[in-house]
Symmetry: D3
Subunit: 264 residues, 6 copies
């Protein structure tokens, strides 16, 4: 059975770099999986795919010896079961604000006795290049569960959440965090307030020896976050890379349209 | 950003007319979206689609300058998140019987601080012809939430439900309402009892200044409901139109088969 | 093995009635296959489908005990092989203007020694409810080949074409025939000239004892053509039925948009 | 309306034999549906499909006059609604450990007043060859609900669970049961302990006159379970049959690779 | 009916700028169609798509008021029929080396009497926002046919090919041209020889008043070709933009893998 | 760039063993690609797939370090271009009866100057784990072309056909050969006559030093053919394996249905 390299890197304190898939396109996934990233996350929280193609993309990333992760839409038992049975090497679970939510997510991702994951399926083991029985034996150790901290409530509960056994890393959703910090009248936090909240997550990670990560737009931002000690950095996305480069091209050509609908 | 024309029409007391998609076919959707209806609802409660094609159909309706709505299968945060991130201009939420159910649906459809919708995705703004940031700023005002009243319990709680901020309209599911009115021994309500229940919804709508709608089979029924003051009228469906016309044809030809399996 | 009922009806001089699928939607196909039509033709000449779904639609029609036909885009060996291996009960081949074109189409549809169809596949027999070997033995007798006459050249060669062994019926494409009759400066034929050309096909069919058919829009037109002796009548289509009924509805409601894009 | 033959067989005390679909392939489903099995279950708990293809596979099994069942991922109202609206003749619901879980599953599968299933959709009746109204009238009697017992807690509550009205049969998940029996330190139960737990289900079934079933790998095991009185036997799966036969072939050829990744 | 803006620009001597789709992804197509390009070409010569999704992508580009083109795999009647019936505003036809090949391509793209295109289908007119009859009337004038010159033989015959009525523009395939210029022993042409061959196309275009285009990788190259008088410039592709930006990112991060599989 | 192992084995006189895919299912393909076979052929001559999924299956086989081949429906330039651009390691071309047909197939599979394959696409190189430029440089040497001999005419021309440079192996289609040997009145050849024809192919292969292969149903038959010197042996198929095992199961259970529709 292949081991999960990001599990090792995270536990050794090393940074890992990955990107996001919002297009759900097999060809784009295959190219990015060979580009040098440690892991690739297919986002099924905010992008509309079907499970057949989710499994295809996940398989293609694993077969390229990269690490396929799925960002699920919620912490339900069914979503996490489907994600892992499709052969993902781990799940990223959004909006974990309480210990109970964290426990539910981790339980769904672990076979008994550590959790309540149901035993079945014949794809997960293909992605780990091993027989089913070996997968059952080792999956609890190789599959990662990454919990998102993306609200003030989540930050307030951070240390307790990160201390739940099986929380392999935490991932800051900067966009949702910003929205969750809006005042009752709708004011957004300042950049400083936003960053302070982020730093509280970094501190909680340090206090609990939990690797912390975040989504950034550029490699420069990635390097800055790594310098702060972050270990799980998502840089841009398939769609973002495409749109960024298209924007450069049309700008150079002077043909950019008036509005910038597609500027992400 | 394009504004949502049915939001305006509903708030001005004007009727809106739409139809239902049960086939999930892009070509049929494109044709109907150019036929003059105010809105088109893809029904993912009772018809089996995948999310990739749901998003395609929704996009094609928006791109035709018609209003795409999704009838979701339940009021869960994930279903409403997926529906709106796929770019729907609104959701129709079935079987809202209590204030709590209504609040959950509306919360899932609104970005903070009004609700708990998660910020992300890159399709919604394409359907509204605007950059993501503009979508985030205005989505709470443009996206509609339409709650279904389709049980005696829902009727009993109607005024409180409709008074929940963010309930843009209510939609009667006449079929489910009839089933929910069955006696413990299975007797169906009489047509009069059924209609009285419908009229209680109309009254609750009036009392709370909430637009009311219903699903009808013919344009004559639509006009009758509009005359009663209803504002959100669904007429037939892609499948219904097809089956009705096929039934007329085979009847005229005298080749109708013995059973009438496909008479909806 | 199920026999092909339209083969029998055509050879006995009886009329057969069918319709056209332009949406390629499985649900619509299943409904129409239970509506009383003798046969249903999926049109892959003018509508864009993939072969996976073509086979699904064909299978569902056969399983409903209706007759699935495919209108192929041309008379090539590959297209006819794919159509029949997908389990169609017959092919409708467009624009057959010469004896050579007819022979190529028929050869591709028949196993040796009558033709050059390649032996293989495991779907055709499922649709005929029999083992592969029985299918191989009887397919040449059950599968129909229907050649389209839709140009003046095709009409000029009609008797020789229809006399080619294996031409089970001919089908007039009235639309293409009208376009092919345009003068060098682009003038369309008059309705009378068009109808005279159609009647020449009827006569050639009579002279060669070949069943003749045509595509019509209404059951009244169908009955008129049957009265003329035609035997293979296509009435409207899934898309046509849908669009017709939608047009009636919006007209009754008075909401028809200015243009009539979707009026087929 | 076609009646559900396995409902009759189960109530008469007869055994029924079926198999599992893990590939979700329409062609494989059509072949197996004609192979003599009483029923075919498409597993959407552990295999990743989209709902469009789920409905296609279910339809093809029904149209072959076999019984299509769906193993859903959980007992939620939405999953069971989607399964039955896609035209399944019944659902197999995993991990039913309590009376409340059983009641929720059964309620979701029955129209009022027996349950809370929502009335709508136009596919279910096609699969039962009847008009929608007839389906609504008889579905509560024809659709089966099969609850899985696959944990010690489920066994402990077995008699109360099976006594819930509408529990048509119970199905042992031997694999999950084994995992759920692991000790806190991860030791698996012995084969004897595992079998004893299975026999407790058999006894609870007998005590409550509820048909019992299990998943087995070989026909010999199937016959042994039938001899014990079991009535709902799943034998292997599409994937299992394929992998077994491939393993025999490569072994005979002497080309088996070192590892045995695909040995299920 | 919408007119084809690139037809006008080309005839007025203005440059047009577009890009290529190799991913066949609807979301990527929608973003690029709003980025300011004059046209977007979906390449079905070198990338594997199905016709259902080809039509979806084409529709989405047209609905965004951009111009959708299809690069077909050959000049066959069927491929060009399918491309235009799917609603493309034009076709790019590869490897046109002779006048006869050019005539076949153009004939397939024009309705009689100018050509042999078959009349049918209900999608093309949706993409041009008009009823079918209007599409039939004006399609010959709005649809563009762009012929590829990509071999020495094509260059040798360039003036005669470009003089064929209906040749709206020519497009140089620089990659194929380079391969076709290989010596019998496999030597590639020098950059100078390659460029000289390209300039011969430019001259033939000038001599016949035919707009000329080419595929380039960067906006700088695009501007250089425009300065030479070229009018139909394809810049990069969805895949190329994605891969370029990914390469920049991983290079900046210092994580680039040893090989550069995905460097296009 | 990965080299093509079957090219080496064939040139060294070693046997290669593979199987056939008729289901077109990614999961089944992934399992079989890990089962020990040298190569896996997806049959797109007799089974209906779309090109998107063809490319997915091909990629998954390559990524499993097995050799993906495509049996194309004919020897046209477009089909062979699509097959190889989808990343197949080779094509199997049916019904090659003449030297001209062989030359056309081989030319389509080779880049200039050896052939006329068009340069483009970004998938083929992913399957060979190399940059595009390296693929272009080496593809002519790594891609295999296997020509089918399956008619008396093909046998008569065998030595000339096999002597065409670039014919890497020949593959007997025993089923088509038997059909092509039918007498004018439809009589099939005897088993002896059939086998004699096969042996003539073996001899022509020996005379021209061309590896010969055939499709067999069992490993015993495979070993017998290897003993005769054959080197390219296809054993059964995904569908055949599934149906064989299902037949064994239902026979053992005594539930086999009367007919044997699904006995391939
Ligand atoms: Mg988030
Ligand atoms: Mg309802
Ligand atoms: Mg025609
Ligand atoms: Mg289980
Ligand atoms: Mg080229
Ligand atoms: Mg063959």
């Amino acid at each position: 059975m292949k081991s999960n390299p990001i599990k090792k890197k995270l536990s050794r304190g090393q940074p890992t770099l990955g990107t996001w898939l919002s297009l759900g396109n097999l060809h784009a996934a295959r190219v990015l999986a060979r580009s040098g990233f440690d892991w690739i996350t297919l986002d099924i929280e905010h992008s509309p795919f079907d499970w057949r193609e989710i499994a295809s993309v996940v398989a293609s990333i694993a077969d390229a010896d990269c690490v396929p992760l799925l960002r699920v839409p919620d912490n339900s038992h069914t979503m996490i079961k489907w994600a892992l049975d499709a052969g993902a090497y781990g799940v990223i679970v959004p909006m974990i604000d309480t210990v109970e939510q964290a426990q539910a997510a981790i339980s769904a991702a672990k076979y008994p006795p550590r959790g309540t994951r149901s035993a079945g399926g014949g794809m997960h083991n293909l992605n780990f290049s091993c027989p089913t029985e070996e997968y059952y034996r080792r999956a609890n150790d190789e599959v990662v569960v990454i919990l998102q901290t993306e609200s003030p409530q989540g930050v307030a509960n951070a240390e307790q959440i990160y201390a739940v056994p099986g929380c392999d890393a935490v991932f800051i959703g900067p966009n949702d965090l910003r929205f969750q910090m809006r005042s009752p009248t709708g004011d957004f936090p300042t950049a400083e307030e936003h960053e302070q909240m982020i730093q509280r997550v970094v501190e909680a990670g340090r206090a609990t020896s939990t690797p912390v990560g975040i989504h950034v737009m550029t490699p420069e931002q990635a390097n800055a976050r790594i310098a702060e000690g972050m270990q799980f950095i998502a840089i841009s996305s398939d769609l973002g890379m495409l749109a960024n480069r298209a924007a450069e091209i049309v700008k150079t050509l002077g043909i950019q349209s008036d509005d910038d609908i597609a500027r992400y």
